[in-house]
């Protein structure tokens, strides 16, 4: 059957803390060996393809825990096929699909449909998240057991945030019953009100209504208490404030099953980027202060923050080319996720190993996936990266059907050269054309 050897790459595997030049061998879609040192002249027993990856980093494929598409319902924004092409180009070999579609993914049959549809059209692994509440309405819980059987990897209400503490308690308890992770985006709807950006001097000067940090920390405090009460595998989808990171660190001392993520936007950008009322910077959670951004970086360094995700949210120009307060939230990010994260490595803020861990090992552990590591027997989902490759993110270059990138025009260093899913190459920079 098919054999593959990647030789002379700098192999970085956070799960085993491996960081050395070596050879990775693959057979029938699974990793069969990982050895340090230069390749032997004939290293693939019985032949097979050999790839010389000198000068490149070989890492596990990225696992993006927060991706929205428009399929089903808004295919003009994004399909599973277009999102997976974007993912492959960005080095993302698996992504968790948020249930905010039309219809909402709150039924086993719809999970089944997505899995079949992804098999037929997508080149990377698509992992459906099922809704916590029916119709994302925050009123009744969905059929967790049946959804799990159908193949949902976790429960999440996507962009929505459940306001009822009682419903959350029930959801957490019932999810614990099925040993399923619950991923929750924490927003206090009342405190958010008409707010459209981080509350502070900058919003006041722009005449935009602010969203206070407390719109995140108050529901987060409630979630953490309920998570400790119920023992659920709780993942705060995305935190954005310094205080939230402190709260997560505090709760961690009391319970093991607590984790959290941060959007690449909140790591790479801050509220000042909203300056010209550019709606591609209108996000939820909003871009916060520079102090908050620094706290997110520190949280990753300290291990308080587990996961970096793209929060890939395709929106068409109809809802984005609007006055700031009236535009939809969200930005695409699959194709810029790694390069934007590498900014923090190039700037000396974070180690490469730390960034990759938050993009591979930790999401896999939280979701209970066999991927996200370069272990023998694991799926051969991996990427080859040129860490210093200079490029400019541009509208024309995106594979996503939507163009609402918060990194549009940004100069970036680091690009995926090749992406492999189950040992099969799904993206090749040289074939696709560089730039």
């Amino acid at each position: 059957m098919s054999r593959l050897a990647i030789e002379n790459a700098r192999i970085v595997d956070p799960a085993s803390s491996f960081d050395a030049v070596g050879t990775l061998t693959v057979e029938d879609g699974r990793i069969t060996g990982l050895t340090a040192g230069a390749a032997a002249p004939v290293s693939v027993p019985g032949g097979g393809e050999r790839v010389d990856a000198r000068g490149l980093v070989l890492a596990p494929g990225l696992i993006d825990m927060r991706v929205f598409t428009g399929e089903p319902g808004h295919e003009y924004r994004e399909t599973l096929a277009s999102a997976s092409a974007a993912a492959a180009a960005g080095g993302v070999t698996s992504f968790v699909l948020m249930p905010d579609t039309l219809p909402v993914i709150d039924d086993g049959a719809l999970v089944d449909f997505l899995i079949r549809r992804a098999k037929a059209t997508a080149s990377v692994n698509v992992l459906p998240a099922a809704a916590i509440s029916r119709g994302l309405k925050g009123e009744e819980i969905t059929e967790f057991g049946l959804l799990k059987e159908a193949g949902a990897v976790c429960f999440a209400d996507g962009r929505h945030s459940i306001q009822s503490s009682a419903l959350l308690r029930a959801a957490f308890s019932y999810a614990a019953n099925f040993d399923m992770p619950v991923v929750h985006h924490v927003v206090d709807r009342g405190l958010t009100g008409d707010g459209v950006m981080n509350e502070g001097t900058f919003a006041s000067v722009l005449g935009l209504r602010g969203i206070p940090a407390e719109a995140e920390t108050i529901p987060l405090a409630r979630d953490l208490e309920l998570a400790l009460l119920t023992g659920v595998r709780y993942h705060a989808a995305q935190i954005s404030t310094a205080r939230s990171a402190e709260m997560i660190a505090g709760a961690r001392k009391r319970g093991r099953n607590i984790s959290c993520g941060v959007s690449i936007n909140n790591l790479a950008l801050n509220e000042n980027d909203v300056g010209g009322y550019r709606t591609f910077f209108k996000l939820s959670p909003p871009l916060r202060s520079e102090d908050d951004r620094q706290a997110m970086i520190e949280g990753l360094r300290a291990g308080t923050i587990d996961v970096i995700h793209s929060d890939h949210d395709p929106q068409d120009s109809e809802v984005k080319r609007q006055p700031f307060a009236e535009a939809s939230d969200g930005a695409i990010g699959l194709e810029t996720l790694l390069a934007a994260a590498l900014r923090l490595v190039h700037s000396g803020d974070l180690e490469l190993m730390t960034v990759l861990r938050a993009l591979t090992q930790r999401p896999a552990e939280i979701l209970g996936l066999p991927s996200g590591r370069l272990a023998v027997g694991a799926p051969a989902d991996f990427i080859l990266v040129d860490l210093d490759y200079p490029w400019t993110a541009s509208e024309a270059g995106f594979r996503s059907k939507s163009r609402n990138s918060s990194f549009e025009g940004a100069r970036l260093a680091g690009k995926v050269v090749a992406t492999y899913v189950a040992g099969r190459k799904v993206f090749d920079l040289d074939e696709e054309g560089r730039g």
Binding site: G200, L206, G207, V319, P323, A325, E326
Partner: protein
Amino acid sequence: MTAPSPTHAEPGTSLPGNFPRFSQKHLLGIADLTPFEILELLDRAEAMIPISRQERKSLPTLAGKTQINLFFEPSTRTQGSFEIAGKRLGAQVMNTSVKTSSVSKGETLIDTAATLNAMRPDVIVVRHSAAGAVQLLSRKVGCSVINAGDGAHEHPTQALLDALTIRRHKGRLNGLTVAICGDIANSRVARSNLLLLGALQIRTRVVAPKTLLPRGIESMASEVFTDMREGLRGADVVMMLRLQHERASGKMIPSVREYFRFYGLDAEKLSFAKPDAIVMHPGPMNRGVEIDPAIADGSRSVITDQVEMGVAVRMAVLDALLADRNEPTR
């Protein structure tokens, strides 16, 4: 009025006084203006005042030009003021009021901008309920754009007309203390005034209950007060803001009567300001909510002067943005 009275101007085609070419294409906000440009616009407006006071109210520097007033929010005062200003300068003025549904506001904005732009106007005067909307529109059209109010962001001609009114009544701007009172959080008038007065290094105070003060206001005003008497103490100018009481009542303030009791301008509170302090209001007023009718219509009120200065300021802005560029000889 203590302002110098320019000699009676004959109807003609050039503005009295010698003004340099104005370098800006749009007037989107006070934030974009230098102190020099602010003072220059005030001087230009000063020179426009006699035009409106003479019998033949015409200075056709904009003859042959097209001005579109595009109002996404209803406004009698500002729209009328811009219309009269344009007409007195000889421009063809078209008024468009766009009824907006909450669903399709933005679509209407960009689409309308493209449609109107194709008719080749020389200037579009825009009011919109969303902050930044006028800036967005200015990027979609080829002509000059004047901000007639965008959300809680800016209302530059209001700040200019307020400054002109103050200067004419006080004979100066330097050394004055201006207290701006009321719903600061939601007021574009407050923001533009704070920017203008701040640029000219004039002492500003804001006075409001904490619920109506935006975060970071300390960096926008010289002093912040929550007690109105303290805030008015020794002020030369008391600028009242309209309270959107239908929206604020029960949420930001408990009731209108409580608001009036603590933050409404009456004779007793006004007695803390300087004896010759003037009272201003951008209109439309809520008598009995933020201001006692006796004060609004009393001898210290300069509210109707503000309306007159509004026309002069808008003539000056239109003339500065449009007339200069085709009349390099001025």
